[in-house]
């Protein structure tokens, strides 16, 4: 593992995110291990990885509403914060990663950048063309407004990341 990958793994652990590092062929099983209940996904946009058959790809709003887990690709990840960058796309990535209790993000290990400075270099390059909007997401949603820290406020209460080797 490169330094970035090692650092990313450590950061993910510290923000309470479960990780699987697998070759492309292992992605299906990794998702299957991480998902909980009815699961929906957006298409992953690469031929060498596939999503478990039980998962509904490109769901209807009603299917999304009923689902407990959402699977979406991440544009890239930020090693020293353990952050994943979730693009807002026309196929509804933002909805599938947000309107669920459990979110699983898929990120290519080539797409792990070291730090925020590299991340913003990349935003500067990609934002206007690849995606107009993105969420830098770090760990599950949380609130301390009710007297102590609770994970799972309006967004997911757990996050899993599948890092694809190669």
């Amino acid at each position: 593992m490169s330094t970035e990958q090692q650092l990313f793994a450590e950061s993910l652990e510290s923000v309470g995110v479960e990780t699987r590092r697998v070759p492309p062929a292992g992605v299906t099983d990794a998702i299957a291990e991480l998902l909980v209940g009815d699961t929906v996904a957006v298409a992953l946009d690469r031929d060498d990885v596939s999503i478990p058959d039980a998962v509904t790809v490109d769901p209807t709003p009603a299917e999304l509403h009923a689902a407990q887990t959402g699977v979406t690709p991440a544009a890239f990840a930020i090693a020293d914060y353990g952050s994943i960058v979730l693009p807002s796309t026309a196929v509804g990535s933002e909805l599938v990663s947000l309107y669920v209790d459990h979110h699983i993000a898929i990120v290519d290990e080539q797409d792990i950048v070291a730090d925020m400075e590299h991340a913003f270099d990349r935003f500067d390059r990609e934002m206007p063309d690849a995606y107009g909007s993105a969420i830098v997401a770090t760990g599950p949603s949380a609130t301390a407004d009710m007297g102590s820290l609770v994970t799972g406020a309006h967004g997911p209460s757990t996050v899993g990341v599948v890092v694809v080797e190669g």
Partner: protein, 721 residues
């Protein structure tokens, strides 16, 4: 005065501690802060041009930008967008700017339902209260208080107790509203002019849903939120969570370039896959001037516009920790920086309601991620309030208040501001002045006329001042290692004479030729009362008096940290650059100076051997801002003392603050924290030392044992001497 109790104190102190830990983890923290500061300076400098750039960017993206003159103008536009005639549901994510506008009331008056989706904001909406903190709006509400509120308002079927249960209940209630919502309203932490990208710094996910779950997005933001480019967001993204709540980064930093491409969905749609649903979405950004453009033209208030609303200045503030943002705040904003915001947006009268809670301790200066000189803004606003003040006691105090103020500051402020005159009279008339001052009649008069709390001990003036004792004395050092002026500050000169004499002795023992000339007081007293003109004349007199000594090769050694802070920090605003530079570079805190002497080869043999004596040390707030507190610990440890330090931000006395009747309770509540630290099992038996005069006064009133200045520990007081 009314305080918000334990919840505020516990939460702000937790945030503050978290900030220390989190910024320590950030590589090159100071460099990142400087970058952030530079970006804001440049952005505010070029603001009109950036607004024009953003307007065309937003329009190219397919949105609309509206620049509102004031709250009424902004609300009028928002009401038009939401539409009248049909009742809409508007969901909001947390936005202090929308609080400033009172947009909820404006929309509700048109018959719309407006729902706060941030859990803290929603609690306040249900309770019909206002935010008491700019980041954690319901910080004053304990879990039990929220449970009670929900019980009363909603009568839930299952009793709600834990934070989890309360969160689940709120999420379900709010989830229904979000599903129904027509319009989503957000604030904006930052907006990049080059791409129109809005950064929203959140943790709950409600801001994401507010945007993704509605077909009309309205973002309201002060004009000062614009930065030139997307890349400029980087330092702020790294600083904002760390500075505010001590989180390295919040759960979500949304970088939205609206209108966003997310499909606009109807949850009941069972037919259409997401990829086939269009993203037909309206976007409006409402930029608000509301006094900001005038602040930009105001040399003293401009810095307020660099504020990124992180709340560090609230959390680090000892007084805020005790009283919370309802007392320490105006119409919308709270904490140290609120004086600038409220003065600029609402006016001096609103700022004046809470401005005196800032004691100028300066702990917020280091905490601020963009290095805003918050105490200075508070001082300037206090000065402006004084100018407009009308007082009818002038005939009583003219002799006692020979200040240069154009207006007429309140009597209490003039008394404390002219303390040099009071001290001089006190010494001239001592000991009679001390007996008189302590009579019941005098104390009642001082209380009634000047608001000096009768529960405070008054200083005891000495007839023979430090200057009287040392002014004409020849130094005892033949071949000096260095030559210095010991600065005879007001208290050391008139009240704590022995401390001054000890300082001379220690310095001479270390080979320093010491002079104690007659020098005026620093101007700290008038400055703290907002009497800037008077403070400036003090600064000029000090500079003129000390210049020849400095030119003659003497260092300036200062016992009182708040005076050293004047020379190093505030004089930059009061003197010409060369005069400030001369004094600042040649001034040293006394223990810092001793440290320097020892480091440079002075023999410590003449100093007392601490021999493991256990000491509890409270350094002074301004001393810590100047980074000269570690020297005291180092010197004491070198001399064999075993030192434990306090970790409160301020002792609560803060010069004259703790003497004022209206603040006595706050002062003592802040002091209680220090008392608790110095009466704990591991400190109970330790000798207490403190660097600041007012800290020593406060500790004297808090503890059974008598505190002393660290310099006193360096001298052998055994009878064999």
């Amino acid at each position: 005065m009314a305080t918000e109790g334990d919840a505020v104190r516990t939460n702000t102190q937790g945030f503050n501690q978290g900030r220390y830990e989190s910024v320590a983890d950030l590589d090159e923290y100071e460099t990142v802060k400087d970058e952030a500061r530079t970006i804001k300076e440049d952005a505010i400098d070029r603001l009109p041009e950036l607004i024009d750039q953003l307007r065309s960017t937003v329009e190219n993206n397919g949105g609309t930008l509206y620049l509102a003159d004031d709250a009424a103008d902004a609300n009028r536009y928002v009401r038009t967008v939401v539409g009248d005639g049909s009742e809409k549901t508007v969901v909001k994510s947390k936005s202090m700017t929308s609080e400033e506008l009172n947009v909820n009331e404006a929309l509700e008056a048109d018959g719309h339902d407006v729902i706060e989706t941030d859990l803290g904001e929603w609690v306040l909406q249900v309770a019909e209260e206002t935010p008491s903190h700019i980041v954690a709006p319901a910080i004053h509400k304990s879990r039990a208080a929220i449970a009670e509120l929900f019980e009363e308002v909603f009568s839930p079927t299952e009793p709600l107790e834990t934070a989890e249960e309360l969160t689940v209940f709120a999420r379900e209630k709010l989830g229904e509203w979000i599903q129904e919502a027509d319009v989503g309203m957000t604030g904006a932490n930052f907006i990049a002019a080059d791409t129109g990208t809005i950064a929203l710094v959140t943790s709950e996910g409600n801001a994401r849903k507010t945007v993704a779950g509605t077909d009309t997005h309205i973002a309201v933001a002060g004009v000062e939120k614009i930065v030139p480019t997307v890349e400029d967001l980087q330092p702020f993204v790294e600083l904002i969570g760390r500075s505010g709540t001590g989180q390295d980064i919040t759960s979500y930093v949304s970088l939205l370039t609206p209108p966003v491409e997310t499909p606009v969905i109807d949850d009941t749609d069972e037919e259409t896959p997401l990829s086939e649903i269009d993203d037909d979405r309206e976007f409006h950004v409402v930029l608000i001037d509301n006094g900001r453009m005038a602040m930009r033209e105001d040399d003293d208030l401009r810095e307020t516009l660099y504020c990124i609303r992180c709340s560090a200045c609230s959390n680090v503030c000892a007084n805020f920790q005790q009283v919370g943002g309802h007392a320490f705040g105006g119409e919308t904003y709270s904490g140290g920086i609120a004086t600038g915001w409220e003065a600029g947006i609402e006016g001096l009268d609103v700022a004046g309601e809470f401005n005196d809670l800032c004691t100028g301790c300066s702990r917020c200066v280091d905490a601020c991620p963009v290095n805003i000189d918050i105490p200075w803004i508070n001082t300037v606003v206090r000065d402006r309030i004084n100018q407009g003040h009308e007082e009818n006691f002038d005939f009583l105090v003219d002799g006692l208040t020979p200040d240069n103020e154009a207006g007429s500051p309140p009597l209490q402020k003039r008394f404390f501001g002219n303390f040099e005159t009071v001290a001089r009279l006190g010494s001239t008339l001592a000991p009679v002045s001390n007996w008189l001052a302590e009579t019941t009649v005098s104390r009642q008069l001082l209380h009634r006329l000047l608001g000096i709390d009768p529960r405070r001990d008054l200083p005891t003036f000495h007839r023979r001042t430090l200057i009287d004792r040392f002014q004409d004395r020849e130094t005892t050092v033949d071949t000096p290692r260095r030559r210095a002026v010991l600065y005879p500050d007001l208290y050391t000169n008139h009240v704590q004479i022995e401390r001054g004499a000890t300082a001379v002795r220690v310095l001479e023992a270390l080979g320093v030729d010491v002079a104690v000339p007659s020098v005026p007081s620093s101007g700290r007293a008038p400055l703290s009362q907002g009497m800037i003109t008077t403070a400036r004349s003090h600064a000029e007199r000090i500079s003129d008096t000390l210049a020849p000594y400095i030119a003659d090769g003497r260092d300036v050694v200062v016992i009182e940290p708040s005076d050293l802070a004047m020379f190093e920090r505030e004089y930059e605003r009061l003197l010409d650059p060369a005069a400030h530079e001369r004094l600042a570079t040649n001034s040293y805190e006394i223990m810092e100076y001793v440290f320097g002497l020892l480091e440079n080869g002075a023999d410590d043999a003449p100093l007392r051997d601490g021999d493991g004596t256990e000491v509890a040390y409270h350094s002074h707030c301004q001393q810590r801002t100047l980074d000269v507190e570690a020297h005291t610990v180092a010197v004491l440890e070198r001399c064999g003392f075993d030192v434990l330090t306090s970790d409160v931000e301020c002792c609560g006395m803060a010069g004259s603050f703790g003497y004022k009747s209206e603040y006595f309770d706050v002062s003592m509540a802040v002091g209680d924290e220090l008392r608790d630290q110095f009466t704990a099992p591991e400190t109970r038996e330790r000798t207490v030392v403190a660097s600041g005069t007012s800290c020593l006064e406060q500790l004297d009133s808090l503890l059974e044992r008598r505190p002393t200045h660290p310099i006193e520990l360096l001298v052998d007081r055994s009878p064999t001497e």
